[in-house]
Amino acid sequence: MEGSAALEGANSSNRTLESAVVRFAGDSGDGMQLTGSQFTLATALAGNDLATFADFPAEIRAPAGTTFGVSAFQINFGAREILTSGDALDVLVAMNPAALKVNLADIKDGGLVIADAGAFTDKTLRKAGYDTDPLEDGSLAAFRLLKLDVSRLTLEAVKDFGVSKKEGLRCRNIWALGLLYWMFGRKRQATVEWFERKFAARPEIAMANIAALNAGHAFGETAELPAEIASLVVPPAEIAPGLYRNVTGNDTLAWGLVAGAQFAGLNLAFCSYPITPASQVLHVLAKLKDYGVLTFQAEDEIAAVCAAIGASYAGSLGVTSSSGPGIALKTEALGLAVAAELPLVVINSQRAGPSTGMPTKTEQSDLYQAVFGRNADSPLVVLAARSPADCFEVAVEAARLAVTYMTPVMVLSDGYIASASEPWKIPDVDAMPRFPARFETEAAGFQPFRRDPVTLARPWAVPGTPGLAHRIGGLERAEDSGEVSYDAANHQRMTDLRAAKIAGIANDLPEQAVELGEPSGPLAVVGWGSTYGPIYRAVSNLRARGLEVAHIHLRHLSPLPGNLGELLGGFERILVPEMNRGQLVTLLRSAYLLPAEGLNKVTGKPFKIAEIEQAILERLEATQ
């Protein structure tokens, strides 16, 4: 199981692990995200594959020391391919009692807890709701415990740099980072350089942090740590050669949109309204004006999608982005884009609902809304990204389909993908296919709704083009001429054509492949979106144990790939893990009349590998 590779050679002082899961947890103000991202960088440079996940509190800045104010950063890294941020923790770094309390349940039996004993005071214990000190009362007996007064040790380390006590204590996290660097044999250089750059204007802060880092490291080297807390080795993974960087899904989505627009030869007009966890896409793009990217923070989600539609009408690639509740507000306007047959990309970073739900928690429950959530028969394209790195390609694909087929395309991301990160092999963009948009320019015989015989797309005749002035709108339009029509037969034809255009896109998609396993057999596990990692790892673990199970993962959800029905028909059972109550299951059952069954988790958290493994085992037993 990923994230639960057994610790080997527990008695030697240099144990080797196939993979390890570390979580840094503390108050929002304790710099956990920074600590985590530095650890990530050092780990990547050490040649491990990895995946990370940041878990923020819902509050902007919750009162210090409270359980609801705990901020955490988790990294899973290994000597093999890493696909999830890990089921259970090998190491928890707890900067205060609340951080310990909130994360306790996720630690493996025998896992290591590093706690800043200096932060376990009567007051902080009470804030966290502890009656007795867990570091003392034996309640952590199932784990290996390393309690250190990190606060004091840090203050000592930084005392020579003229920083205030408050500033000094802010380096606690970096002291702990130093210790972890020692523990996993990481190099400090990149982090040292980062501090030097970051605090160039305040060298004393840079120096204090560097000193804390070194002190933590030195502590590991010199202190007589108990035998079971030895330094650990996670050997480098076999990773395809290339240039890498660590990315979140919101980064790659944003860049993929930029690339997609470029490949289409268009300006990008990104019109959005902030909402968790989608806002970051806007933030990334707002800095990219020099890439022909126009961003517009609209007054609401309706204005955002409408401005995007207006921009597409005027010849840009209009894109809008939101999360579930905001997407709900856009559905009327999406109908207009379907009717007017304009390109449009809609990003939905799904979060836990219904209604406001749990904005900072992940879910996959907007598939129904994406496929069915509009008035009338209003088909459009739905794609889903499986991982932060995958977002780039999916965004490019969305742009391609929107422009080629003159249609809205909805891209489903989710709260996990949006803020999880993983190393990304930077693609050779020159080698990626272009799909230049073709603006209509020919006035002779121009008809705004005459379709391309292959794609069924109508021409894109942009205002400003001489001789093509015409009127379009949301009233039903006559085939070809596009003039308002209430004709019964025309409405039937246009309805059928709109459906045929979207259905026909299946012919323009690659055949659905099998990720892992044979193209037929007793059990296929079918997923979409961010369940990719846990499904893949679970299936591969069980296949390694000789079990016959396959993994199929969908990128295209509407239309479904042309060969999918046949492919699924080759399996005796179909299991569909989803972070919802069974939405893809509905699509598959109705499309193919196959007895797909759901494995459903709606907790705001991703699947654990073990959960999927167990469900597979149950199904396989039932089959046998």
Partner: protein
Amino acid sequence: MNVPSSPGPLTAKDYASDQEVRWCPGCGDYAILKAIQRTLAELQAEPDKTVFVSGIGCAARFPYYLSTYGFHTIHGRAPAIATGIKLANPELDVWVVSGDGDALSIGGNHLLHVLRRNVDLQFLLFNNEIYGLTKGQYSPTSRPGTRSPSTPQGSLDAPVSAAAFALGAGARFVARSVDTLQKPLPEVLRRARTHRGASFVEILQNCIVYNDQVFGDITDRAVAEEAQIHVVHGQPLVFGKDRGKGLRLRPGTLELEVVTLGPGGPGEIELLRHDETSRPLAALLAAMAPPDLPMALGVLYCDPAPSYDGQVWEQMAAARSNGRDRDLDRLLRGGHTWTVPG
């Protein structure tokens, strides 16, 4: 299609599309259509660079009847769509056509924001104080007591004043006219089109079917002279038969009052002069209505400021002047990278 084919200057007719106009016979929208076609001709607007955007309603059918580009969108959202159009291509001349329901009921938020942002477009609000297309329900501009299918005992809520709302929203150009005023209306439209930034024009429009004569107290020939004041920048605020009346501030207050001119009354010199750039004056003018005060028509307020779309493109241009235009590799290979050797 619909390419004006006449050689030489375009005439009003060249701005008509080939579509049969489908308003009720006698609807005030016909007159407005004529006025706009005349305005476009006067300005020699290029049909291919002109876009009419509308929401839903009787008024919103407007784009179909013009030979320009046109987009008949959804109810209330035309300002947002027009904003997108302008952002994508600021070269286009964009007109939004809307009704009182479209603009001030469902679309109130977008109107607020298009005005405060000062997007460079013309926003025409055809105010007939009723929902025409859906068969006569009262609207947010209907007067209290309006009996309509949804308010059979008379409406209760206070109406919103379109012009006051626009001023409150921060509009930099606010004007008002009447469908049948075929001289002043094109003039107001010309001013609106000439103004850079969002130009808000309320046009009082008679709905002959559901709200006939609701503006009779302003437009009836018998009362028009006394009930209308046509304001002109820099000119004293006079009106009435033989221009025999004027407006001044009631001394010591912030209220307007009507004074009779000529022998016995104050001379023009004491009257207020119209100052288009004064927002407080515009607010006072916007609030006037018969019977106590005449309805103010013309350009009530005009005080240009940089347009939003213009500034956006300046910011874009500045960002792109770094000479590294659109290099994807630069974007993707920025930040912390590392190489896994082959």
